[in-house]
């Protein structure tokens, strides 16, 4: 057993259990969540994987035989549709990440240099969208971007265009929705990392002759790299595997990796194909995450303390 400090006498077993979980060293405090993860994520995923790597015979709704096979994987990897779909997903996710960074960084910077009220307003505006579901926010874009939506009626009324632009159900609608929905996930880690640093660093830079732009370039930006890494990893993962936004704003015929898995499982009822697609989705996602982590690590060598 772990080193458990038992309170002196009188405590009930419940209190002792809580105490053991809280004071236990190593893995004990994590046990409940490990159990949940095993039951809810790892085991189902293992079952799904086993479907992707076997030939299955089904009779009267029950699996009667299951033999190991790589055919699903090889079919997928030689199918140009897969390549096109995954490339599109990758492009979309990388573009989204890029724009989230471009739009999010100035907001985080404003948070850093702004006064008390600026900070509050930014926090409220960043967090408030997270309080509504992604589906609701996506539907809001239907209203804004639609043929008779806010954007088109404004442009029409000022005679900038003659007829409504077709924004909905295009790549652009998906990208706009993705950037807006994932923006907070970029801004929050940036703010967390940037406001962790001593404001005197900025004063020191100014005192040593740096202009505001030079301070941003030489001090604030390099120190925010860990935040950029975290934000980029989160936004990439979420937008690479997103399902709701392309499904709603892409008009049902915008196929990305997640919508492909959905169609294979729900409409084609081909669980093996869906399983293989999920696997490819997960592995490629991990590869990009590792690349992001490597780049971030390379740029933040200074954080690795005392190993001169």
């Amino acid at each position: 057993m772990a080193n458990v400090s038992v309170p002196a006498g009188g405590a009930g077993w419940g209190e002792r259990l809580v105490d053991a979980l809280l004071s236990g060293r190593g893995v004990w405090p994590a046990v409940p969540s490990i159990v949940v993860l095993m039951v809810m994520a790892v085991i189902p995923f293992a079952i799904l994987l086993s479907l992707g790597f076997s030939d299955i015979e089904v009779a009267r709704g029950a699996i009667i035989s299951q033999t190991f096979s790589l055919t699903h994987l090889t079919t997928a990897l030689t199918d140009p549709l897969y390549w096109i779909t995954f490339q599109r997903s990758l492009n979309l996710a990388l573009t989204t990440t890029f724009f989230c960074l471009v739009f999010g960084y100035p907001v985080a910077y404003l948070f850093l240099v702004g006064g008390r009220w600026t900070k509050r307003i930014i926090l409220i505006l960043t967090i408030a969208p997270l309080l509504t579901s992604g589906i609701v926010r996506t539907y809001a874009w239907l209203v804004i971007l639609g043929g008779r939506g806010v954007v088109n009626s404004t442009l029409l009324s000022i005679d900038l265009i003659d007829q409504p632009l077709r924004i909905m159900n295009t790549h652009w609608a998906v990208l706009i929705g993705m950037v807006q929905i994932h923006l907070p996930v970029m801004i929050l880690p940036l703010i967390a990392v940037m406001s962790r640093h001593d404001t005197r660093l900025v004063e020191a830079a100014e005192n040593l002759g740096a202009s505001q732009l030079a301070t941003l370039r030489t001090i604030i930006f390099p120190l925010s790299v860990p935040g950029i890494g975290t934000g980029a990893a989160l936004v990439f993962t979420l937008s690479y595997t997103t399902f709701v936004v392309p499904q709603l704003l892409g008009g049902g015929n915008y196929l990305n990796a997640a919508t492909m898995v959905y169609e294979q499982v729900v409409f084609s009822l081909d669980w093996s194909k869906g399983s293989v697609s999920s696997l490819i989705l997960m592995v490629t996602c991990l590869i990009v995450l590792v690349i992001i982590a490597l780049i971030t690590n390379r740029l933040t060598r200074w954080t690795r303390g005392r190993d001169a």
Binding site: A204, N207, L208, G209, A210, G305, A308
Partner: protein, 359 residues
Amino acid sequence: MLDTAGPMIDSNDPAPVLSIGAVSKKFDSLTVLENCSLDVAEGEIVTLLGPSGCGKTTLLRCIAGFWDADSGGIRIDGRDMGAVPVNRRPVGVVFQSYALFPHMTVVQNVGYALRMLRMPRSAVAERVSTALETVSLTGLEDRYPSQLSGGQQQRVAIARVLVMEPRVLLLDEPFNALDAKLRGSMQVELRQLIKKLGLTSIFVTHDQEEALTMSDRIAVMRAGRIEQAAPPEEIFDRPATAYVADFIGMSNFFSGEAQAGAVLLPDGQSQSTELQGPVKVMIRPHNIRLVDAQDQDWRGTIAFHRPVGPLIEYHVDVAGDQIKVLSMRQQQSQIYADGACVGLQVIDPASCSIYPGAH
């Protein structure tokens, strides 16, 4: 007359390098600085000393340009700094806990100011290595700040401002981040370094020991005002106000009455004064001698005693008041035990300070 371009060592009144003229500053309705004036001569180290909240850091930040004064002006070499932005002032700041750039090595930190001036690489390297030699930091060039000890970090912070050859060096409690043992030796070392380089400096602290060690002059601050600015000995021996007397060193205060140009001290001796009416008399503990009780009317019992290095500190209970007395251990014929009945005598009445004050 001396050549104005040359050193003005013999001049009676050399132009001050830094001149603070009637600076006031308010935050909302709170007055943080009130009419502060101070001139600092070439190569002089002046300490702003006071408790937290007395405005010493605010004054430092106004000199550096981080904050603007509401009224009054700051001049360096006669040039008004009012319109000069932070990054153009000839001022170097050593921050509390140093504010070293954590993502830069020692060399990169020290060379920062020169890179901002777009100085060629070779010149930067040369001046950085000179600065590192000056603060004896060679061999640690490629370390990051997190890999340095507190003392080393302080040297990097000093080298980082030295390279830009500031006219005025500002030090904001630079010893706070060091452990007590290191502090004493670093203080002496830093003073010698600044003196060797001839840097005009303002040093902010709340620690009087530090102030007495580091300064040519001490400016004692209280609630946004400078109470007294004078050399350390003068501050200690002839404090201008009761507040300064109380803040610096140990002190005993007595109420008295000034009549016909003199005040009667508690032991019956008298000290001349220009004041009239109720006064406060301050007598330093080392200006009181313990004598046999039967020889004195001013007497009490020892409430507490302890050795302080070569001295011995007594607290003598006289009619409910505790009076502090410091004596050399060797010169005292005997060491009085707690509870002993003793007489007290002022050694030098002329060294007692007298301030106006109500009872």
